[in-house]
Point group: C2
């Protein structure tokens, strides 16, 4: 594991060097079909990381947001998203992340979430405590959803705009923006609940060891294990009580059912 961790930390360092040269510089933003902006920085980092894996662990598989899938011959697969939170990146806000994760036979083994402008790094390893810049972190106890700080990237995470007002009522507040970075804040106990939609493997897999290693719970919006191979909605909470209350809320407002239908239809499409 130490070999893998050192390699992942080296890759995060290299990615950060490239990203810092692009941050807040004039650059083109292209639109992909799913409307998320993809930058040259994104592709340059992914190219660099693929090169490192090809040289140092040629048998390992790769699953990158830009480069697609390279099959594994070792059982190990690296998953990365060079700039998660590209809109925040494009808007000059240092709340994007480099995400790097390693799976063995489809199960997440370890992951890094790195914020290269702030010099912040969360490391999650299966069955070990999550660390933030080398120090162990824990989620915050929060028994009542009314006192929970909720992180969510966009109101478009919700299936129904009618859910917005009751969600504000049900929680202490919603901190908008964030994407995967919100899960790191949950691991550190600064947020209590984080809800995202449209999370692919390059988002969900890196988030799982970090949340679980900090004592948090991560599921889909119906309380089932999160989808690690396709796109899905993800719900994380630092406290089991708040997690249960948020699942109740999502059911009561039809959001859980809508998320399950969307997941089912994307599953049928993939099949």
């Amino acid at each position: 594991m130490q070999e893998f961790l050192s390699l992942a930390e080296f890759m995060a360092d290299e990615a950060g060097k490239i990203i810092r040269t692009y941050f807040r510089q004039p650059f083109d933003v292209e639109c992909k079909s799913d409307d998320s902006p993809v930058t040259r920085a994104d592709r340059e980092v992914e190219h660099r990381l693929c090169g490192i894996i090809a040289r140092q662990r040629p048998e390992d598989g790769i699953h990158g947001e830009e480069t697609g899938v390279k099959d594994s011959r070792s059982g190990y697969t690296w998953i990365f998203d060079p700039i998660d939170g590209t809109k925040q990146f494009a808007g000059g806000r240092p709340t994007f992340c480099i995400l790097i994760a390693l799976c063995y036979e489809g199960r997440p083994l370890m992951s890094i979430m790195d914020q290269p402008i702030l010099g912040e790094r969360w490391v999650g390893v299966k069955d070990r405590p999550t660390t933030f810049n080398g120090k162990i972190v824990r989620t915050r106890a929060c028994k009542d959803l009314k006192t929970a700080r909720l992180g969510m990237t966009s109101p478009r995470n919700l299936a129904f705009t009618e859910t917005l007002a009751p969600l504000h009522e049900a929680t202490q507040f919603i901190a908008w923006g964030g994407h995967a970075y919100g899960f790191a804040q949950l691991a550190s106990g600064w947020l209590d609940v984080v809800m995202e939609k449209h999370f692919g493997p390059f988002d969900t897999v890196p988030v799982v060891p970090i949340v679980e290693g900090a004592g948090g719970i991560i599921t889909d919006w119906s309380g089932n294990p999160p989808n690690l191979t396709g796109k899905g909605k993800v719900l994380a909470a630092g406290d089991p009580a708040t997690h249960e209350q948020m699942l109740d809320f999502l059911r009561a407002h039809g959001e859980a059912q809508a998320a399950a239908r969307a997941a089912g239809s994307s599953h049928r499409k993939a099949a």
Copy 2:
């Protein structure tokens, strides 16, 4: 002016020292009647800044979010909001700001927006170019709203949730979160349009010299001068073309009219 600037920079330095000791530490969040969380850090900073003004410029007035109004005998009034963006602050995100501004006879003379974790400081002075960490910044040219990067704190800025989907369609993307920090990003050319609601004097006054000194436009949602004495909705754009297109959008969706009605009713209440 140099004397005022030095004093304002000293106050921002002092505020930053206090705020850094509170950021990401466990702390209580209280709820005010308007539901924004106010922290002990907020009050400690405001107490410190009031003390500095009382000693160094005892004739000047003060308008603080926590301490209320102290009348001016010199014509000069200091306005400050120690932690603008308290939800981001509480969530562990360094995208809040210290706001300090100086007015003479009600007109904004100069202002500072400081992000004490990142070491970022924007300075705006009437009729002078805005600076970011000492370097002159300019807003970005953006002729077409379809290519505009929009910053907005929360979907609750809108009067109608039905406006949300067309707003996503009409712009390149919406970066959620931010509060006053978004206006600094507009001044630096990273965002093209920023829209906020419920901006009081301690938010709006500091934002005006920074946006205008960078070549941007700042108005209310109907294109009139922003409300510098009460609460109101604020629209800033880096390019006049995008500003005009966003005003058209807000009129077409009834948001401009709703904002004007809200401003009128709060005006009547105040009268």
